[in-house]
Symmetry: C2
Subunit: 242 residues, 2 copies
């Protein structure tokens, strides 16, 4: 009997925003796997840390998927290959493995790369999680969409003309993966007269959460885990941030 | 001291997909409020039912927001006005109130109508939840978006030409609120040659969940709580549903 691979969405940052199901499976699995940058900590691991206090539960074996920052495709592929092989070795021994995913596993998540490599050979169950998008809307107190509005989720790394074409449509938008692309995005929003329809949310539900008007953001401090919500037009400009 | 209104996302259907935080607040609040159609049960109430078993926790007072089906705006407005007044009466007495929301409170949720009516006068905290979107992707085993793909969430009640214009762009799409609009949506997908890129998901994570190719769906049986996921083009046609 081989083990089961669980893709566990652990939510956007606040450890309390993990689901009851993901927490049960986290405690059930003798092996956990999670991504981390080449150097530095894993956000997914940090989110579940309060639930893995030594003494309260048997400590799981841990597999760190070391993934390169930025866009080195070959290195990323090798990292996932290695991680998938490590996970497969445990599954072959009949041990269930929980792959921890920030937010939701299938919403810009890294889990799909493990899923691609392992789903054909092993039983895989995906546990959806609270996404950064819902978390940002909650933190900002802004409805994402209502009635028959369209919501577009747009990655900030797209070229400026693509961003502009998509933002011009008047739909509600979330611009994700900001980081070093913030200045470009702000310029596009400015050109379209949308700055008063947009709100910046950084590290939603985490300790250092910030909600700011886009104009008030220092581009030098924008992390990858930030996004901009743009209200649907026809909608009014957003109220002041208190 | 007035009470706090909590907008609690209770997740997409499986009671285990409630967050630890929403569960804590559910048990903390002496009053719960939830929407229900004119006749019939409340899905949000059904999701938390296992956590409100008499004897294990003091039973909360319950406020049912009776909302009309379909699109009678005036009746809906009156229903929310009445519900907001009932909630306000408890908040004025210092009692915290949990407003239960299927999925995520701000993702096509009804909570925003209570938020609009009460946020200026009372402390409101929104607890994000697992959306039907992430749940459907998990149930279907389909990544929603990866890398720099755009995801558009499109309400099925839009007119066919609008649906077509948005689906033509090649982005990953989720078409939500299907119900009686299914036949129209299927025709648009067929015209665009997208049926093999689309997957139908009904009642994701609930007892009677179904995942089907769009061609296999009987239009007479499509509930409101169903959606169609359309893969980004450039992506391959989807694998067979097992």
């Amino acid at each position: 009997m081989t083990g089961t691979l669980y893709g566990l969405g652990v939510g956007p940052g606040d450890p309390e925003l993990i689901t009851v199901k993901a927490l049960r499976l986290l405690r059930h699995c003798p092996v956990i796997a999670y991504p981390a940058a080449d150097e530095g900590d894993s956000l997914a691991r940090a989110i579940v840390a309060p639930y893995l206090v030594p003494g309260t539960t048997p400590p799981p074996q841990e597999i760190v998927l070391r993934l390169p920052m930025r866009t080195d495709r070959e290195a990323a592929r090798a990292g996932y290959d290695r991680g998938a092989a490590d996970i497969a070795a445990h599954l072959d021994q009949g041990r269930d493995v929980a792959a921890l995913c920030e937010g939701d596993p299938l919403f810009f998540g890294s889990f799909m790369y493990l899923f691609d490599r392992l789903a054909g050979r092993y039983r895989v169950e995906i546990v959806p999680g609270v996404s950064s998008l819902g978390a940002a809307a909650a933190s900002a107190g802004l409805p994402l969409v209502e009635r028959n509005q369209v919501l577009s989720v747009i990655p900030a790394p797209l070229p400026a003309p693509d961003l502009e074409a998509r933002l011009r449509r008047g739909d509600a938008c979330a611009i994700v993966k900001l980081g070093r692309h913030f200045t470009k995005v702000r310029a596009v929003l400015g050109d379209l007269g949308l700055l008063d329809h947009a709100r910046y949310v950084e590290r939603a539900t985490m300790d250092r959460q910030r909600v700011l008007p886009v104009r008030a953001v220092d581009p030098g401090t924008v992390p990858y885990f930030s996004l901009i919500l743009v209200a649907a037009r026809g909608a009014q400009a957003l109220p002041e941030v208190s």
